[in-house]
Symmetry: C3
Subunit: 336 residues, 3 copies
């Protein structure tokens, strides 16, 4: 718990009302209970927040006369973000509880405050660190290693041997460690290539819903520290994502490709197999990257070019469209 | 139950045979039981339907001599559609049954004729209306509200606070209410933006399989009345879809974007964040929409243009390809 | 079990050490137990394999002096693939076991050596062949037919009536047989078209994770023998995929389209509805195919062209970019 005054300090805000009240949670007005802080960004939400049970409302600096205790700030999204992350560390850790319907294999080791929800199935020789939550109907394969402060939402499937470090969140429907897509055609038949590697997910990674991260073939698929992956993303076998990468929804990264740190990848991007994308790269939405990219470049388009070139090209194509008659005439007039 | 004569009236059809027989269900010949109506669209299916246990066969108007009772119509697909929707309203409601292996939290309220399948987990303070079915191994979060006549197929995950109105169908593997993809980079670290809103799904919505609809950040993600969403679609945080929109498979709609009523969105379309798409808009498959669109326009391409312009552009590019030598020569000849 | 000498014969390899030892499994060094064969492709993995518990290491031909028993080969990936497929046939079949928490409907018939994992729900009148494994929390609908040697990973949903032949693998999160996306607008309302067909998956198919294969409308959706489908792929209603097709991740095939045998489809490809793609076709990643394709063609681009044409076009566009000033000048100079 944290007082309103302490909160205001964190977010560079000004308290109006009783700043000594202790706050237990953050929520929207619709679901706020006593002890919560909520927020209000416009007239409608100001009225909602006023009627809510929240003990404190975060409002814009100029909202001077408000009937509830407020913390007034410049930027509500930023302030709420700071507060949310600070409170995540201050909140009491969950109480451990293994639901009686969950099934744990032989030699499962669990740290303090582990919650295993109903109908979760945990394989043999699995290690779960402290403050881990395994959601309902999750399936955790044999010999999986999960660190501390990891939340796995319901209906997630983690195949054998996958390694997950600390402070990782995995949303529902996601599948980690399924076989990579590898076949060798031989004598008119198609032979499956064994997928013997695993997946390693480093600290502070968040993985969205219905994501697929395939296990490696002969080495491992790696998701670097701090990298964030949005929904419905495909990460193929042997891919190595560096640190602090952002991957927006529905993007696919094909087999054995490496991506450097701090790179930003837009939605529905496709990155070919066996290439290398540098660090600090920016890739616009829907781009098709079929060659390696140096550090610090910004690319866009299908096929990809430097974003500035793609913009020029699109302008040129618009010019062509405007001058279509001229162009047709010109081409007719040039002798073969 | 409905007689064959009553059915024929609904679909503007002609009965051959005993029209007083009562029909209980619709199915394909392979799975038809006595009391079912089936359909036959070609020679092969006519023979199959003849051998099936179906009590009646819907056939084309010209199929005069058929050894089973028939309803003869102009357009089988349309007639079956009318019949299917009419019978959905006529069929007796399901008998309520909460499977003993399902787990219901505190203060769960359920209406009449609620079916909860095995291993479903329902959180605290959840309200389920009448004639609701929650599939096996579904996970329904705390304080979720579900209206009447809602079917949730197995293995669906619905996060806390999500609101679902009436006559909604949600297919398997879908995740509703997971956290939106929001982070603020600050002092070399990446802070997660709290996702405090929820998802509201209005009446008569159907959501396909393995879809993701993220919860809102500070407000709600909204799916308007009558909107239909195909498989593997991404709907990001704060998106507002209007009424009667069709979203084909694998399309992604980025954060805070609004789409107007009756808009048709093809497959694998990407729509950028924070833009506004009008009503009655048509967006061709694979289009990348990165700017707002006025009502009634038809767009196609990546980047998007009016569909007619994109077609012209593609024709022009084909012309360029045919005249490549000429063009290369021309460009060489022009002085710098 | 198979001796190291027998293995070497299969992969055209040379044994160094005791070739009479029997091998029970294949794994990476990290997880190898006594009786396993592992592999080593570089210095690091050679050292790891040396320290591992593996009884034998597959190494490159030139790796003459290695302190463990080795099979030396030209191509490790190929050799491991041959070995993996051979051992799959040699390994003892699993011991049948129906977990007591799983729920089987009336008239479920199971062959020898069927494993049903915890919390799986099997509908009525389901037939499972020999050596089938149904993963945890899977939901198998009524009247589903599954052949021999089929593995269904956890959290898969298979709707009513789906038919799966022999030697099929289905990865987690996949949904087979959900309703196709079909609606008829009529009198200002949207009517759902009944989806009365089913899905048939023929022999030797592998389906990745979080894939959607919709049931047919009035006929069946068919996945032909030997076809392999990667993660997050959409196969719409009535689609017929021929034999030995490869479909890479995140590709979508729209309703009623047919694809011929041996066709290779890259990632994030979109194929329109109601068209026909020939056999032995190659479709590059991210291609948008909106017309039928003859046998043996290679296409790429959005919109699609023959790949060679698309490459020429992209080169031409690059030339335009380099000569932008000239082009603008030229267009200004041509009279309207």
């Amino acid at each position: 718990m944290i007082t309103i005054n302490e909160m205001a300090k964190l977010v560079n805000g000004t308290v109006t009302g009783d700043g000594t009240v202790r706050i237990k949670g953050i929520s929207s007005s619709d679901y706020a209970v006593e002890g919560d802080i909520t927020f209000a960004v416009n007239e409608e939400s100001l009225r909602k927040a006023e009627k809510s049970k929240a003990s404190c409302v975060m409002v814009l600096r100029e909202e001077a006369n408000y009937p509830k205790t407020t913390v007034r700030v410049e930027d509500i999204k930023l302030a709420m973000t700071i507060l949310y992350n600070a409170m995540a560390e201050l909140l009491p850790t969950q109480e451990g509880k293994v639901h009686p319907t969950s099934i744990l294999g032989k030699n499962v080791k669990t740290g303090k405050n582990v919650v295993i929800e109903p109908f979760a199935v945990i394989g043999e020789n699995v290690h779960l660190g402290e403050n881990v939550r395994i959601g309902a109907a999750c399936n955790i394969g044999n010999t999986v290693r999960i660190g501390n402060n990891v939340q796995v939402y319901p209906n997630v499937t983690i195949y054998d041997n996958v390694v997950i470090h600390n402070n990782v969140t995995i949303h529902s429907g996601t599948v980690i460690g399924a076989d990579g897509f590898g076949y060798v055609p031989m004598n008119g038949k198609t032979y499956k290539v064994p997928q013997l590697g695993t997946v390693i997910i480093e600290d502070n990674v968040e993985v969205g819903a219905n994501v697929c991260i395939d296990r490696g073939t002969f080495k491992n698929t790696i998701i670097g520290k701090g990298t964030k992956i949005d929904n419905l993303v495909q990460v193929a076998h042997n891919v190595e994502l560096g640190e602090n990468i952002m991957v927006a929804a529905q993007t696919g990264i094909a087999g054995s490709t490496k991506v450097g740190e701090n790179t930003l990848i837009g939605g529905q991007v496709g990155i070919s197999d066996n290439i290398s994308v540098g660090k600090n790269v920016k890739i616009g939405a829907k781009t098709g990257v079929h060659g390696s990219l140096r550090d610090d470049v910004t690319v866009w388009g299908y096929p990809y070019r430097k974003a500035a070139e793609t913009k020029k090209l699109h302008a040129l194509l618009s010019l062509f469209l405007k001058n279509m008659k001229k162009i047709r005439k010109l081409l007719r007039e040039i002798p073969d």
